[in-house]
């Protein structure tokens, strides 16, 4: 979590949910793609992090 800018996950997720249209599982795949690409530096070492998605949705879910 960045002290000023917040967490990479929440910032990426809100950006994707606000600026992209599509079923939620596709949007979450885009969040994973962006996070997997990013490199987070912690104590001078590059780290990788990505979300994990579990779904029991029975239909497509569109938020936009």
């Amino acid at each position: 979590r960045h002290d000023v800018d917040g967490s990479t996950f929440i910032q990426t997720l809100t950006d994707v949910f606000c600026n992209r249209k599509g079923p939620i599982l596709q949007l979450l795949t885009e969040v994973t793609r962006r996070m997997a690409k990013a490199e987070l530096v912690q104590e001078g070492t590059a780290r990788k992090v990505n979300p994990e998605i579990e779904s029991t949705l029975r239909k497509q879910l569109y938020l936009q």
């Binding site: 979590r1 960045h2 917040g6 997720l13 997997a36 990788k48 879910l61 569109y62």
Partner: protein
């Protein structure tokens, strides 16, 4: 023998009806979590754009996490019009399956998720429920793995050639956690 030609049909796409109320709850432990305010701001902006009516509670104790979810369930069940969707954001320090309240006590994520399931929240039966959890699930740090194999790849600062260890996988179980599969 002539082989039978199979022509797969496209999926029939069915979507959740989102014409009713959209309700959200954000519970965030701010203590010793610098940057939380930026996350709350980003979420409030998102909820506004997605037409969710959001309630934010800062610094809940472990017990208040549970109480706030129960209050949210009561609000949803007594909502004056049909509810289409619930969105819950939980932000705190944590361990696998647990969140740490402002008081340092732990609350089980499964207990929080139970509150809005189809058994306990009548108004949300068959309706989508979204949970976003911003919390640690353990102590491991991922250095990532190099991709590209022996191929010549252009490594630039903007396009690091590493990916996290756990990506590109779909886990599909025949039943949900703790239940029999027949």
């Amino acid at each position: 023998m002539e082989e039978e030609m199979i022509h797969p049909r496209p999926l029939q796409e069915e979507a959740y009806d989102m014409s009713g109320a959209r309700l959200a709850l954000t519970l965030c432990v701010m203590k010793a979590r610098e940057g939380s305010e930026a996350d709350i701001s980003a979420l409030e902006h998102m909820f506004k754009q997605l037409r969710f009516e959001n309630t934010t509670k800062r610094d809940p104790t472990a017990q208040q996490f549970q109480e706030e979810l129960k209050n949210f369930q009561d609000v949803i069940d007594n909502w004056k019009e049909p509810v289409s969707c619930a969105f819950v954001v939980l932000m705190a320090h944590g361990e696998e399956g647990l969140l740490k309240g402002e008081d340092g006590e732990m609350v089980k994520l499964d207990d929080l998720f139970e509150t809005l399931n189809n058994k306990n929240c009548r108004a949300l039966r068959g309706k989508p429920k979204i949970y976003i959890v911003q919390a640690c699930r353990g102590e491991h740090r991922d250095l990532g793995e190099t991709i590209g194999g022996d191929e010549m790849v252009m490594v630039t600062k903007d396009e690091p050639q590493t990916i996290p260890t756990y990506t590109d996988t779909v886990h599909v179980y025949s039943t949900v956690e703790g239940h029999l599969a027949y």
